[in-house]
């Protein structure tokens, strides 16, 4: 199960809430260093799936490993090896930029000198040096999200999970955000990202599309477009999502 080369493996992973099946026997794997796009409409089960992988929610059935650790029994080991940025904004609004970096760095076990170096490095990279002592609440959303991403990878995790990281920001900031993702990926970090911006899915090495709790398609963006005879990922998505709805009626 635990072959080298795979960052995440899931087999028939399922989550039920009572009668409702939020995630229905999904099977996929993510290679180390890959940027994996996890797509789906709102309510398709993306967030539930992510929460199982990062050890916030225990699965109902199926198997999965993240960084080689079991999602049932070894959640604490998983947490040491991953970074996570949730769609709900997760920095402390009443702390300054510097204080947020120091707090999360400290919680991840970085030494004081590492925290100092990281802080300087991050602020320089994000061009936020002037905002060092500003409260997070006073920053524009785009800056917050870039900062949140940088903090999510502050401990150099093997895998980073991004749950709709670019929701609500302008195209330029999204582009900058993806540059951060590429940079992390070039250093060997595996990126697992959910989004519903279909143009963003073109940036991924491989994508899966979830429809009603199942993975309906999984391939490279180019492969998917070929299979579905589509010119863009938007079209692929519509073709996948529509027939289900029509079939329901």
């Amino acid at each position: 199960m635990n072959e080298p080369g795979y960052a995440i493996r899931a087999e028939q992973l399922t989550k039920r809430f009572g009668d409702f099946i939020a995630v229905n026997e999904i099977t996929f794997d993510v290679k180390q260093g890959e940027i994996y796009g996890f797509l789906g409409a709102n309510g398709a089960g993306k967030t539930t799936a992510i929460r199982m992988l990062i050890g916030l929610l225990s699965p109902s059935s199926g198997i999965a490993t993240v960084a080689g650790f079991d999602v049932y029994k070894e959640t604490e080991n998983i947490k040491r090896n991953i970074g996570y940025m949730s769609q709900r904004f997760s920095l402390y609004e009443d702390l300054t930029v510097k204080e947020n970096i120091r707090f999360y760095g400290g919680v991840y076990g970085l030494s004081s000198s590492e925290i100092r170096d990281k802080t300087d490095f991050l602020l320089k990279k994000l061009e936020l040096e002037h905002a060092r002592n500003m409260l997070i609440s006073s920053l524009p959303l785009g800056w917050k999200q870039k900062l949140a991403f940088s903090i999510a990878v502050i401990h150099d995790p093997k895998i980073v999970f991004l749950d709709e990281p670019t929701g609500g920001v302008d195209p330029i900031t999204r582009r900058q955000f993806w540059n951060l993702i590429y940079e992390a990926s070039s250093k060997g970090v595996t990126v697992f990202v959910t989004t519903h911006y279909m143009d963003e899915s073109e940036y991924c090495d491989r994508v899966s599309i979830m429809v009603d709790g199942r993975i309906a398609a999984l391939d490279t963006p180019r492969g998917l477009k070929r299979i579905f005879h589509a010119s863009s990922m938007d079209e692929v998505f519509l073709k996948l999502a529509r027939p289900e709805k029509v079939g329901d009626i």
Partner: protein, 370 residues
């Protein structure tokens, strides 16, 4: 251990950056001590009474003078008819009617049994009882004086009672109330602030970010408890200081014992607060539940009404009421100079309580949901 340090640092920054916080820390002790000690008094003074003196003699006037010169009674009206007195009772202008019949002096001088009447508003039974006691004492003293002056026979045999009030010889009301008010203060700070704290992180979503870090449960709980524990001890110290400065309350026992017991007690209160925050999802819910317990604990805690006068089932309930235990301890230490041996029962109960509450909150706090 380093993780805990970062958590505590973060909490303190947040506490002191919160603009509403400093007024709470310094304002609440002063306001509570000043208002509650002066207003919530059991003492009965200045009872307003309506006088009906049908005798109009030297003797009757002497009796009335006894009433008016005491600090307990103030005459507000006078009439010759019962109806006027009744009216004043009804409209709350007077709490008592003192009725002296027309042949009062004659009866006194003739050594017959003489009569006067008190009509007391007994809506509040406690107050009525006290009024009656004070009034009877005055009449009794009056009778004794008359007996010694007018009686031709030597004083009949009588028993004189010497009172000796221990621990609070001047029956100083503040001395009795302040330890309890300090307890209420510390309890409120502990229960509400800790109760709100985790729920707030749930509401803004940062708890999820913490739950994906390798932070350990006990680190999290300690990191959340310790700041408010220190804050609680500080506020107790500040409250004691204010009480000493303004009311000059006695501090008979050792300060070590005061803060030692406070340290244990705060763990109980904070533990309850943390537990509440682990079973609720919004600050509103947490606040409501915290208030529910606070009100019950306070009313049954012996701050305003003595536990001894509660029905026995309510007295038994106080075993699980941390506030009741701590009020007894604080009164014992501050007023009576109790040492640890005198309060060992409460110390044991609170210690057990703190262990249970901590265990429960650690168990209830989940990093992984089902």
């Amino acid at each position: 251990m380093r993780t805990i340090r970062f958590l505590i640092q973060k909490e303190f920054i947040q506490i002191f950056r919160n603009k509403g916080m400093l007024p709470i820390i310094f304002g609440m002790p002063i306001i509570q001590l000043l208002i509650l000690t002066n207003a919530a008094t059991f003492d009965l003074r200045n009872v307003q009474f309506h006088l009906i003196d049908r005798d109009q003699t030297t003797t009757s006037r002497k009796l009335v003078e006894k009433f008016t010169s005491s600090e307990y009674f103030i005459p507000v009206a006078q009439s010759f008819s019962d109806e006027k007195g009744e009216e004043n009772l009804k409209s709350n202008r007077a709490r008592m009617v003192l009725n002296i019949p027309g042949n009062f002096e004659k009866e006194v001088l003739s050594n017959k049994v003489s009569h006067i009447q008190f009509i007391i508003n007994a809506e509040d039974g406690n107050a009525a009882g006290l009024t009656q006691t004070y009034a009877s004492n005055i009449v009794h003293a009056f009778a004794m004086e008359y007996q010694s002056v007018w009686s031709s026979v030597d004083n009949p045999k009588q028993i004189k009672i010497d009172y000796s009030f221990w621990y609070n010889p001047e029956l100083n009301y503040e001395t009795y109330m302040i330890p309890g008010i300090l307890v209420a203060l510390v309890s409120m700070i502990g229960l509400f602030l800790s109760g709100m704290n985790i729920v707030r992180e749930k509401e803004i979503g940062t708890i999820e970010q913490l739950n994906v870090t390798p932070i350990k449960k006990h680190e999290f709980i300690i990191g959340k408890l310790l700041p408010f524990w220190l804050l609680g001890l500080f506020i107790l110290g500040f409250g004691l200081f204010v009480a000493k400065l303004i009311f000059n309350i006695p501090i008979m026992g050792s300060l070590w014992l005061i803060f030692g017991t406070a340290a244990v007690y705060l763990i109980v209160v904070l533990g309850i607060g943390l537990f509440i925050s682990t079973v609720t999802d919004t600050q509103q819910q947490a606040m409501f539940i915290a208030w529910f317990f606070m009100v019950i604990f306070m009313l049954l805690g012996g701050l305003f009404t003595p536990i001894e006068s509660m029905p026995s089932w309510a007295q038994n309930l106080t075993v699980v009421n941390p506030i009741a235990h701590y009020i007894q301890m604080m009164r014992g230490i501050l007023i009576k100079g109790a040492v640890i041996g005198d309060i060992s029962f409460q110390v044991i109960v609170l210690s057990l309580y703190s262990i249970i509450m901590l265990t429960l909150s650690v168990l209830r706090y989940r990093k992984v949901n089902d």
